[in-house]
Structures are given as C-alpha cells and as structure tokens.
C-alpha cells in the first residue's frame, strides 16, 4: 500500500512541479512582453546586449556558415550533376541556406554560444545575490537585466542568420564556381531569379525571429529560476542548450509546415 502511495505522491509532486514551471515561464514571458517596449527607451542597455550576444558570436557564425556553404556546394553539385542541372547550384545553395539552414544552424549555434553565456551570467548574478540586491534597491531585475537581454537576443539573431546565409553562399560559390568550375553567370542568375524576397527570405527572417525569441527566452528563464549554487548554474546552462535546441528543431518543423500550407 505504501508503495502505491509513494508512487502516487511522486507523480503528484512531478505534476505540481511541471505546472509550477509552466506558470513561472508564462508569467516571465508576460512580464518580458510588457517590459520590452520600455527597454527601448534605454536603448544603450539593449545596444550593449546586441554587441555582447551578436558581435561576440560573429566568429563562430561566420566560420560555421563558410563550412556549411562548402559542404552544400559539394553535395549540391554531386546531386545536381546527375541530372545535368549543375547550373542550378547557386539556387540550391541559396534556398537551403535562406529558408532552412541559416535560421536553424544559427539558432543552434546561438544557443550554444550566447544562450549559455546568458544563463550563466544571470545564474551567477543570482548566486552572488546581485539580483536580490537589485530588488532591495527597488529596481526590478526583470526590467533592468532581463528585458534588455531579451530584446538584444531578438535583434541579434536575425542579423546573425543573415550573416550565416551570406557567408554560406560565398562558401558555396567558392566550392562550386572557383573550385569545381560551375558557370559563375548561371550560379548567380539562377539564384537571383529563383529566390523570392517574401516567400523565401521573408520566411527565413520570420523563422530566425521566432528562434531568437525562443533561445533567448529559454536562456533567461533557466538563469532566472536556477538554483543559486555552482551545480544549479551548471545544470541550468546544460538545460538551456538541450531545451532551446529541441524547441528550435520542433518549431522549425511547425513553421515550415505552416509556411508550406500558406
């Protein structure tokens, strides 16, 4: 009997814990949405975060974009030349990057580079009682610390995705045109005629905005509600990468399905 009671209470605790977590996340999201316009009034704080999250991620984003472009050039040429349409390499590289790989890979890299930094920073501020000190100074940490970071991540992510796609296209050109010898005119003209600004680039921008919001929010949430101990911060940082990566991949499917249906 006591075994069943223990099991039931464990299930109850787990359900209560899950609901509490959802409630905390919803309340934090609501407060961020309300406070984000006010963060624009102190744009210097937001600009600092765009620099911190965006500029410091540029190196990893650019290098990754270049190599993804290289691989796309090689794989794309291998497939297309079977059907005698290797001139469409530019179109394939551009569409793959702009619609899919740019937003998704950038979001995954952003979660690893900037998301973990955000979680660790907020978590360490919490464990060092800096957030509590702020509250005792009658300064709302969500308004002063979280909202500028949220907005910074939201702005930085589409810019990074654009850099990723641009560098990736250069990578595809280097492999396809400069190395393999695909016609440069065909490479660029097919890309120009086949990529639609609204349907392709626009959808990519929407995706990167949604991913930016998701990754930044997960990172802030994990940092803000982490246990203020070294283990707690370490666990929160790990959870940021795992949760935001899964959210990005799941949302990518949902968004792609929606965009196809429109």
């Amino acid at each position: 009997m006591s075994g069943i009671a223990d099991m039931l209470s464990a299930i109850g605790r787990s359900v209560c814990g899950g609901l509490t977590g959802i409630g905390e996340a919803t309340r934090l999201m609501g407060r961020l949405v309300v406070l984000t316009p006010a963060a624009l009034a102190r744009f210097r704080l937001v600009a600092d975060q765009i620099f911190f999250l965006g500029n410091y991620s540029l190196a990893i984003i650019s290098v990754s974009g270049l190599f993804v472009g290289f691989v796309l050039g090689l794989q794309g040429y291998y497939t297309l030349q079977r059907y005698g349409s290797s001139e469409a390499l530019g179109l394939l590289v551009a569409l793959s990057l702009v619609r899919e790989l740019g937003p998704v890979v950038t979001a995954l890299l952003f979660a690893g580079r900037a998301g973990t930094a955000l979680t660790a920073e907020i978590g360490l501020m919490k464990s060092g009682e800096q957030l509590a000190a702020m509250e005792m100074m009658a300064v709302d940490p969500v308004r002063r610390v979280l909202a500028p970071r949220f907005l910074g991540g939201l702005i930085a992510m589409p810019l990074l995705a654009a850099v990723f796609s641009a560098v990736g296209i250069i990578g595809g050109w280097l492999v396809g045109v400069a190395l393999i010898g695909v016609d440069a005119g065909a490479f660029w003209s097919q890309m120009q005629s086949g990529v639609d600004v609204f349907k392709d680039v626009g959808n990519g921008v929407i995706k990167s905005l949604v991913f930016g919001l998701t990754v930044t929010f997960v990172a802030l949430l994990q940092g803000y509600f982490c246990q203020p101990t070294p283990e707690g911060v370490a666990r929160a940082t790990t959870r940021t990468v795992v949760m935001s990566s899964l959210c990005v991949l799941g949302l990518d499917f949902v968004l792609t399905a929606l965009m196809f249906s429109i």
């Binding site: 800096q130 509590a132 005792m136 009658a138 300064v139 002063r144």
Partner: protein, 300 residues
C-alpha cells in the same frame, strides 16, 4: 519613474542626544509611540520548515539593533521579512507603521527605497566599477544630472574611505573594501533603515574594526536605524544598542550588550563564551556510538 530627491548626506549630522543611550533602549521600546520596524506574531518558513514561530520584536528609531544566534536560526530571515523577500505565514511586519505584506508592487518598491541592505559578500555588480555601483541606485531612481551624481557618489565613497578606489572593478578590491563599497551603495539614497547581513564575516581584524566603526558612525551621523545580523560577539556588542538572540524559532534572549554579558541564560552564555557544547549540542543528533561501531555495552 524618477522622484524628487534631496541628499541627506549634505545635512549636518544629528546631535548625539537624538540617539537614545543604550541603557535606556529597552524601556524606550515600550515608551516610543512608533518604532521603525515591528514584527507582530510573525510565523514564517521555507517549504515545510518553520523558521520563526510567533515572533514579536521592535526596532526603535535611531538605534543599532543586532540579531545574533546560531547558524540557520532565522537571523537573516528577519531581514528578508522586513524587505519582503520572504512572505509571512501569519502575523504582521510593520515598517514605519505600514504592513509590508499588504503592499502592492509599487508600494513595496516605494518602501524598499527607504531601506538599504548590505549583503553578506557585498553583492556588488561585477560588470560595473566601484563608482558605477554606488551611482546605480541614484541613476535608477532619480533624475539628477551626472555632475550631481558624481558629487554624491564621491561623498558616499569618501564616507567609507574609498574615494580613491572609484575606478576599480569589484574583482580588483578586497572583501573588506567590497563591503564598504556596498555600504556606500546602500546609503546612496539616504535610507531610513540600513540592514547589515553578516558585515564582519571573513574580514581581517583591521577591516572588521573599520566596518564596525562605520556602522556606528553612519548610524549616528545620518540619523538612520540599523539592524546588524552577526555572529561576531565582540564587534557586535561594541556597536549595538540592543541585542536580540534568535534561536529555536523565536527570541531566546534580548537586552543591552552589558545585560547580555552578565546573563545566566545558558544559550547566551554558550554563545558569548564560545563554548563548544551547551544548549547547542556539539554532536548532530545520531544513534549511539556503540550502535554505529558495533561495540558491546552500547557505549555512547
């Protein structure tokens, strides 16, 4: 929203007579019409654990009141209750006659502006310089010009002896200096109440003496009320007007430092004499030694 503000630091210090002498404090608690802080029948805790049960205490205006007691006894919890970082299960926490539990968010923020808190390790913002740390509450809550902010920050830093360290980062200063910077930050908005959470922990004797002197002098010069949570008997007794011992979820003893030095209360005696065993046991509750080591005769 910036508020009109005038710097109290520019006012002349209060006359010494405005601070009640230590020996009169216990009776002044009874006669004073409105103590700055009052706990009435407060019960609170974390999760299933009750930390304080039906506690009543008052903090008279202008005094330095120390909360002492064993680790985990609930001293810091009292500070958290006053600033409403922790809510009560029952009872009232009154700050200047207002029940902090009943305040909405704006009301709470307004009342917190009248409190300064020094955290155990300073809780300085590590990405800001010493100057910017002290300027932080001024920039957040007032519409003062940068020139005025600069003058005020330098005044506050001068009061704690760190005007020359304004450009250093928190990582470049010692633990004692960190706490002095945090103290300058805590008094930046000229609060009515300053709460010190373990201000002497981990400090060398010189820094400890400096910290104790600053607490007493700032209290008297600024006319504020101070609450000090500490383990350090000598330093705390040297500056406190009234000492409250918190143990076992309530107030175990209270009085002036002189009264407590002479008391026969076993808990206070163990604490003041730093005795390893007494009402607070040296051994954590456990089964008998004989049982644990398999000895015959059940040796304890």
């Amino acid at each position: 929203m910036p508020v009109p503000w005038s710097p109290r630091g520019l006012d002349p210090p209060l006359a010494p007579s405005s601070v009640p002498p230590a020996s009169n404090l216990v009776s002044s608690v009874a006669t004073s019409p409105a103590p700055l802080v009052e706990l009435r029948g407060v019960t609170c805790g974390y999760g299933d654990r009750i930390i304080l049960k039906d506690v009543n205490l008052t903090v008279p205006r202008g005094s330095v009141v120390a909360f002492m007691g064993t680790s985990g006894g609930g001293k810091t919890t009292v500070l958290r209750l006053i600033g409403r970082q922790l809510g009560v299960r029952s009872g009232q926490v009154l700050f200047d006659g207002t029940d902090v539990a009943g305040l909405d968010r704006d009301g709470l923020m307004a009342i917190r502006r009248r409190m300064g808190m020094l955290f155990q390790f300073g809780a300085l913002f590590t990405d800001l310089s010493v100057f910017d740390n002290v300027a932080f509450p001024l920039r957040e809550h007032t519409d003062l010009t940068e020139t005025m902010v600069r003058d005020l920050v330098l005044m506050k830093l001068n009061a704690v002896g760190l005007r020359g360290a304004r450009d250093l980062l928190p990582s470049q200063i010692s633990g004692g200096m960190s706490r002095r910077v945090a103290l300058a930050r805590a008094i930046a908005l000229d609060p009515d109440l300053i709460m010190y959470d373990e201000p002497f922990a981990g400090l060398d004797p010189i820094s400890m003496g400096v910290a104790a002197r600053l607490i007493r002098e700032l209290n008297d010069a600024l006319g504020v009320t101070s609450i000090v949570v500490s383990h350090d008997v000598d330093e705390t007794f040297s500056i406190a007007d009234h000492v409250v011992f918190i143990a076992n979820g309530g107030i175990a003893a209270q009085g002036t430092p002189d009264e407590l030095r002479k008391t026969d209360d076993p808990l206070v005696r163990q604490f003041v004499d730093a005795a390893p065993d007494g009402p607070v046991r040296f051994h954590y509750p456990a089964t008998s030694v004989g049982e644990d080591f398999g000895l015959r005769g059940g040796a304890r």
